[in-house]
């Protein structure tokens, strides 16, 4: 009940924040704007819509995850609201987990709204909505959960600005980590190669969670790869959240 109370309060904060609505409205406008592109293109309309739509969900979702995520805990410390909350019979890890779940709930609502818009458009152009579209959205959501966990982790020990920089760096690196492996292979072992290989395993591999292509071009989805990606996300998110909880458990609030 206590974790739920913290989570709902975090959700409430987002709901009463105007920035969130601005992002959401902008995303829906972009989504609707993709239909303009359709009118000037010849053929492949539904592909453009799906491509644009999924990119919208991914980009605007990441914006929310990073910019609300970095303030999750650090803002509470900076504004000293954490003092009265932690003076109540609640463990610190419960607080950190509640904050995380609150933002995940916020993302769930936002992604759902955007996904509904996309499915509506897709239905309008194609006459049906492909289940692959939902699958792609589900994995975008998992990616957002991972990015939120990264932001939470950094916000437990550093300032919002530093957290934003760290999270953005890892976000970009996470999308490029496949290249890191190629890089490692070119060096063929050696110190640099091993370091690059190690980094590849350590950094979040966000491209693993990208199923947009399959949704847009209707390519076959390998169930084994899907399950593995899902497990990878769950494992990575749990590790990040647990580390954040452990750091938060130890720190002083001066």
């Amino acid at each position: 009940m206590r974790i739920a109370a913290i989570a709902l309060n975090t959700f409430m904060e987002a709901v009463r924040d105007r920035i969130l609505y601005a992002i959401l409205v902008f995303a829906l406008v972009m989504l609707a704007g993709s239909t303009v592109l359709v009118t000037v293109s010849v053929g492949g309309e539904e592909k453009i819509i799906k491509d644009m739509g999924l990119a919208c969900i991914s980009i605007f979702g990441s914006l929310i995850a990073i910019f609300l995520g970095i303030g999750l805990v650090s803002k509470e410390i900076e504004k000293r609201t954490v003092y009265t909350v932690l003076s109540k019979p609640i463990h610190r890890y419960q607080f950190a987990l509640g904050k995380y779940l609150g933002l995940v709930l916020t993302l769930l609502v936002n992604v759902s709204v955007m996904a509904l818009g996309l499915i509506g458009l897709s239905y309008f152009w194609e006459g049906f909505a492909s289940p692959r579209l939902l699958l792609a959205v589900l994995f975008i959501f998992l990616e957002l959960m991972l990015v939120t966990a990264l932001a939470l982790l950094f916000s437990t020990f550093s300032s919002p600005t530093l957290s934003a920089i760290f999270t953005l760096c890892l976000f970009v690196a996470g999308h490029l980590s496949a290249d890191l492996r190629l890089f490692a292979a070119r060096f063929g072992g050696g110190l640099v190669g091993t370091a690059a290989e190690g980094l590849y395993f350590l950094l979040p591999n966000l491209s693993r969670l990208d199923f947009k292509e399959q949704a847009v071009y209707g390519a076959a989805v390998d169930p084994g790869a899907l399950a593995l990606s899902f497990l990878y996300a769950v494992f990575y998110i749990s590790a990040l959240v647990l580390t954040a909880m452990a750091i938060f458990q130890r720190r002083d609030f001066r």
């Binding site: 009940m1 206590r2 109370a5 913290i6 309060n9 409430m12 904060e13 009463r16 924040d17 504004k79 000293r80 609201t81 003092y83 009265t84 909350v85 932690l86 003076s87 109540k88 019979p89 609640i90 463990h91 002083d252 609030f253 001066r254």
Partner: protein
């Protein structure tokens, strides 16, 4: 069992790029008995807030130990029996007063019907019932302070830890908080509060502790701390025949001072006072006031704080 037992508690913070250690609290020994109001006095930066943060578990001690309500520091279940008001409390601005109190009610595990009842009762007691549905960004400083007191009392705690509870309040508000603290004491609660406002402490506290630069310089009942020296008594009289006043001179500590028609007489103790009053009664003199001249906490405070602050 004492409400608070602190033994050799020390806190150092690391600050700056090189993590230089700064000691803010040094070997603190302090006891707060159950059912008393304990005043924790000290100038700004003496370490009062750090002590309170240690007691509620917001920071961890560098060394030493303390027990709160018989339990070691940082015990989460004990917090069910504690109410804490931080200095200049900050709350979630996007919530209304009622939503905020409801949130804290959930955190202390109050079930819904009790929560509603408790919030109404506290709002009436702290006179914020008309503002309860306004968002907190529209609250004045004094109103926020009252809301802070309400959240500290939401779980009907046995022990109250208040950091500067009177700050930000107007004279009426201060008076109300004083009455609130006395009411809590009457109900058998223990109150530990910090302040740098001396009259508040003087009026309310059974015992006080005085903290200067992270060290406790005195602890005990106010009378004991202040009354170590002889306390003269000042009597203001009028209509005293001159032969009587001459006759009384051997009882006086200093020469009588005249103030218009009135005379101010100072005697050294209560025996002398009794004799003086009896004699004045016989002579049909008028007694206007009898005031014990003990050293005020302020004078004591200045005497102890200043030498340490200015090297």
């Amino acid at each position: 069992m004492n409400a608070i037992d602190i033994e050799k508690l020390t806190k150092e913070y690391r600050s700056g790029f090189w993590g230089k250690r700064v000691r803010v609290l040094s070997q603190l020994d302090l006891t707060v008995c159950q059912g008393e109001i304990f005043g924790y006095l000290g100038p700004n930066g003496a370490g009062k807030t750090t002590t309170l943060k240690l007691l509620i578990g917001l920071v961890r001690p560098t060394s030493g130990e303390a027990r709160v309500l018989g339990q070691p520091l940082g015990d989460v279940r004990t917090k069910q029996r504690i109410g804490f008001l931080p200095e200049q409390p900050y709350f979630y601005e996007y919530l209304t007063g009622r939503e905020l109190l409801n949130f804290y009610g959930q955190l202390v595990g109050l079930p819904q019907p009790d929560r509603k009842e408790r919030i109404e009762k506290l709002a009436r007691q702290l006179r914020i019932e008309t503002r309860l549905d306004l968002p907190l960004r529209k609250y004045s400083k004094g109103m926020l302070q009252r809301l802070g007191l309400a959240q500290a009392l939401i779980n009907d705690p046995e022990l109250l830890l208040f950091d500067e509870p009177m700050s930000g309040l107007d004279p009426v508000g201060r008076r109300e908080v004083r009455d609130l603290l006395l009411g809590l004491k009457e109900k058998g609660k223990t109150v530990f509060f910090s302040s740098h406002v001396i009259p508040d402490v003087e009026m309310l506290c059974d015992r006080v502790g005085i903290l200067v630069s992270g060290r406790l310089v005195a602890q005990g009942p106010l009378d004991e701390i202040l009354g170590a020296q002889v306390a003269p008594i000042e009597i203001t009289v009028s209509h005293v025949p001159s032969e009587v006043s001459q006759e009384l001179e051997h009882l006086l500590l200093t020469r009588p001072a005249s103030k218009g028609e009135r005379l101010i007489l100072t005697v050294k103790d209560e025996d002398a006072l009794a004799e003086l009053l009896a004699r004045l009664g016989e002579a049909k003199g008028t007694v206007h006031s009898v005031i014990p001249q003990r050293e005020s906490l302020e004078e004591y405070f200045l005497r102890h704080v200043q030498p340490r602050e200015s090297p």
